[in-house]
Amino acid sequence: MKQQLIQLEINNQLYEIPVTPRDLLVDVIRKKVGITGTKKGCGEGDCGACTVLMDGAPVLSCLTLAITCQGRKIITIEGLADEQGALHPIQQSFLDHGAVQCGFCTPGMILTTKALLDKNPHPDQTSIKRGIAGNICRCTGYKKIVEAIGAAADRIATREVK
């Protein structure tokens, strides 16, 4: 199939990538760019593991055609830690609260949380649950994920006050 060059800004770095009209964003990120933190759990938009942030909003990269993303800014899980490699408060909170087991849902879960907290910095438990309702985790039973998100919100709020 005919390829076309598109520009994507992924984790603040510009990439020029040849894609076919049917290439999915998840495959382009994982295979053509070669950063594999974005996971493919179902390929049908049901599990949320492939979530990335596009211009700040969470999108399912397995349902997104790469060719429609020309010029967009994408953040994957690899783009969340700061320049010096320090973990983002959400990442730290997931670690501290035992919200990670097999880790396969974790990148999507953390990025969905990022979008949630950007929009609603002080979510109550119901808002947290609604925020991550589209991300399946089969290991943790979700309790520690909800706790981690609540604690991350507090951590970010405290940091911003300083």
Binding site: T38, G41, I77, C102, I145
Partner: protein, 771 residues
């Protein structure tokens, strides 16, 4: 080191693979890239039962970019995790037995080409009658056989007799018998199977990276299918995205990748789509059960009679083992002096069933805990009283010779009843609200290997030197449950260092020492024994050197906080590194090696002293226990059952990493809540799966998360390393019956078929109104 005073064990610590996972840097099999790597795809059967008349792949082979095509004839050797019943092949030979079974596989330069090639493979089938119900399958065995050498369409059947149940039932005051059915469910681990094989034609070595939880058993199966000695094969687990038993045997992706790699001379990867995860299944066996329990006038269980027909699907897999686990699991956690079990595992033209978290326990536990709930009602006492009265105690030996060295099961029951307010709530809430109580237990490892062998089940090698510090080698599989962290904690405990100082090399059959794998909740206990022994040997050697450096006697030293101390004169102490430095400078690298062999208890009927078929299955060095009180709201308008609160108390012995134990418990409960209320794979009449995706196969999301109150009860098994027991499968057991008992409390309807869907609830409510 004996006793409960620990510094590294018993601490909630972050998992050692955690940082890589939150950064997206953990490498799973499908993340790997190798030079010249080709991509494999599997062509799947469009019939559930048919002879293969012909496969023509000439057009596929001619497609540019296609490197190789294989069919069943390329690897006809049969594999199976239970060697006595091994009957699976990599790709179907002559006949397909379920819809979606692999019939051919392609390797191509990219996935698109491989997929295109699959469409060019022409398979000619001669359809056969499709048997989807185990009873129909047995009935029509004279007319149609799924396997030629299995005359009744039955893999195996067994009868176990302990004591004299008939006589015991005759003397019972309260007897209840009911039928129960558990549904056809899948693990739905988040990472689909993925296998990457690299065969090197020059040295004849095969390396396989796989998303798997039993590298050793996979290693054995590869040797059989590939006709290669095990010492020419290396199995490596990258990060594994969950298993829950579903990666507890080999997968066709492993063999296809390996065969295609050998054929092309290139590395080949096969990653399944979600649809393929469902259609190759290996999930929990649907069980058609009949259970009868008899109590004497005081409420003591006198006898249990259990009949179980397991719907096994197309191949053997773990089937025979699962079947005998369902019989073993009626002997605990209550004292059952007389028991009979009649069980059979039947072939049907469905994707095969296999091992799934808490295998063999979940089904009989559902029946038993529901029956006890109703028997309590018949007696006019609380289910709590009845369960406490019959609960096992430390040192108990069942009539089937299961030995329970230590248990805090009664404490679990007490704790949940107190914490949930069960006695104040049960039977006293408005219509639609209910609370249910159930208990359960699980093994902490097995007594026997799946193939006849006397070798230790686990070996741990600890290496200490100035370069690597402490490295623990063991081919155990961390599939997300966190065993690498727990092994580091246990090694650090004995060596007197911090868990962060310990490197763990696991999931590798070459660099790791022998281990059977992650199943049967065995790893913490088994590796714990081996780690203790290996670390003791290291300490013995270092104590000698430290003693010389401190001018005191080796047996008067202890090691803690990375220092050796004289127990009599603690100011005589020296840093751990300095002693290691002296040892390695004078002798070289230090090693210690420890093994674990479980006690080989025989499955006998203690009343007669006779061996009982299949009763070796179920023995374990120790057992974990869990009790749960679950509260539900039943919406009488919509029929929807909502779990509002789960109160749990578990006996996992000494928790090595309490945060990790909580994660296992909470995960177990939500995992099983799905089976109770939502999950079921549906096949159409031709055997095609109708909901082979996470959209239509409903696993719990966070919206179903109830309030959860879990307690790790104070427990320490003095016979276990560090006092440990299992924690990842015991808490699976009580969830379904606790929910069913709660629904019964809420609306007075006993659901004996899973899942308890809104449709079933509405139908039952309507019938109840009609009465």
């Amino acid at each position: 080191m004996e006793g409960k005073k620990f510094s590294q064990v018993g601490r909630s610590v972050t998992r050692i693979d955690g940082p890589a996972k939150v950064k997206g840097e953990a490498i799973y099999t499908d993340d790997m890239v190798m030079a010249r790597m080709a991509h494999g795809k599997i062509k799947r059967s469009t019939y559930a039962h048919a002879f293969i008349k012909n496969i023509d792949y000439s057009k596929a082979l001619a497609l540019p970019g296609v490197l190789a095509v294989i069919t069943g004839e390329d690897a006809p050797n049969k594999w199976g995790i239970v060697p006595q019943t091994a009957n699976e092949v990599t790709l179907a030979v002559d006949k397909v037995r379920f819809h979606g079974e692999g019939v051919a596989a392609v390797a191509a330069i990219d996935e698109e080409t491989a997929e295109e090639a699959l469409d060019l493979i022409e398979v000619e089938y001669e359809p056969l009658p499709v048997l989807l119900d185990p009873f129909e399958s047995m009935k029509r065995a004279g007319e149609i056989l799924i396997h030629e050498n299995e005359p009744d369409n039955v893999l195996h059947q067994g009868e176990q007799l302990f004591g004299n149940p008939d006589q015991a039932f005759a003397g019972c005051k309260y007897v209840l018998e009911k039928k129960f059915y558990t549904s056809y469910v899948n693990h739905a681990f988040l990472e689909p199977h993925s296998s990457l094989a690299h065969y090197d034609p020059q040295n004849g070595q095969l390396q396989l990276w796989s998303s798997n939880q039993v590298p050793h058993y996979l290693h054995r199966q590869l040797s059989i299918v590939m006709d290669m000695p095990m010492n020419k094969i290396r199995v490596i687990l990258p990060a594994v995205g969950g298993g829950f038993g579903g990666k507890g045997e080999a997968s066709s992706s492993d063999f296809c990748a390996a065969l295609l790699s050998r054929k092309t001379g290139r590395p080949v990867r096969v990653t399944y789509d979600r649809n393929e995860v469902f259609v190759t299944n290996k999930g929990r066996h649907p069980c058609h059960m009949k259970m009868k329990i008899g109590l004497d006038q005081n409420g003591y269980i006198q006898a249990v009679d259990f009949d179980n027909t397991l719907d096994g699907g197309a191949y053997a897999g773990w089937g025979m083992v699962v079947m005998f686990y369902t019989t073993s699991m009626i002997h605990l956690p209550y004292k059952v002096p007389n028991a009979r079990a009649r069980v059979r595992r039947v072939y049907t033209n469905k994707p095969t069933c296999g091992a799934m978290r808490g295998l063999g326990g979940v089904q009989p536990r559902y029946a038993m805990e529901c029956l006890l709930d109703e028997l309590a009602e018949m007696m006019g006492v609380s289910a709590y009283e009845l369960k406490m009265k019959n609960a096992v105690e430390s040192g108990y030996r069942s009539v089937s010779n299961l030995h329970v060295p230590h248990t805090e099961y009664k404490k679990c029951l007490q704790t949940v009843v107190e914490n949930s307010g069960y006695l104040e709530k049960h039977g006293k809430q408005p219509f639609g609200k209910g609370i249910g109580l159930a208990g359960g237990y699980y093994i902490s490892g097995t007594a026997y290997t799946l193939y006849l062998s006397y070798k230790p089940h686990t070996t741990v090698l600890i290496r200490v030197d100035t370069e690597g510090g402490v490295t623990v080698h063991c081919a155990a599989a961390d599939i997300g449950q966190g065993c690498n962290t727990v092994m580091a904690q246990m090694a650090a405990e004995v060596l007197g260092v911090n868990y962060e100082d310990v490197h763990v090399v696991s999931g590798d059959t070459e660099l790791g020492t022998f281990d059977l794998g992650s199943f049967a909740s065995r790893v913490t206990y088994a590796s714990g024994v081996a780690i203790k022994e290996a670390a003791r040997q290291i300490n013995d050697k270092l104590f000698e050197v430290a003693a010389g450096m401190l001018s005191c006697r080796a047996e008067q030293l202890e090691v803690r906080d990375r220092r050796f101390y004289s127990v009599f004169e603690p100011k005589k102490n020296i840093e751990w590194e300095k002693v290691v430095d002296v040892y390695t400078n004078t002798v070289g690298t230090l090693t210690g090696i420890g093994h674990f062999s479980p006690p080989r208890l025989k499955g006998i009927d203690l009343t007669r002293g006779e061996r009982v078929q299949g009763a070796n299955i179920g023995h374990s060095p120790t057992f974990g226990f869990s009790a749960q009180a679950i509260e539900v709201d039943v919406d009488v308008e919509t029929g929807k059952v909502r779990v509002t609160k789960v109160t749990e108390a578990g006996d996992c012995g000494q928790a090595v990493n309490p945060m990790s134990v909580e994660g296992q418990v909470e995960g177990s409960i939500m995992f099983t809540l799905g089976q109770a209320l939502y999950e079921e794979m549906h096949l159409d009449e031709d055997g095609r799966m109708m909901n082979a995706c996470l959209h239509h196969y409903k696993v719990p999301t966070v919206m179903e998360l109830p309030e959860m109150d879990t307690t790790i009860v104070d427990s320490y098994d003095p016979t276990a390393p560090f006092g440990v027991k299992e924690s990842g499968e015991g808490p699976v057991q009580p969830t379904i019956p606790a929910i069913a008992n709660a629904v019964y409390d809420a609306i007075g309807v006993r659901f004996t078929e899973l899942p308890i869907t809104p449709e079933k609830v509405l139908k039952a409510l309507k019938e109840k109104q009609g009465k």
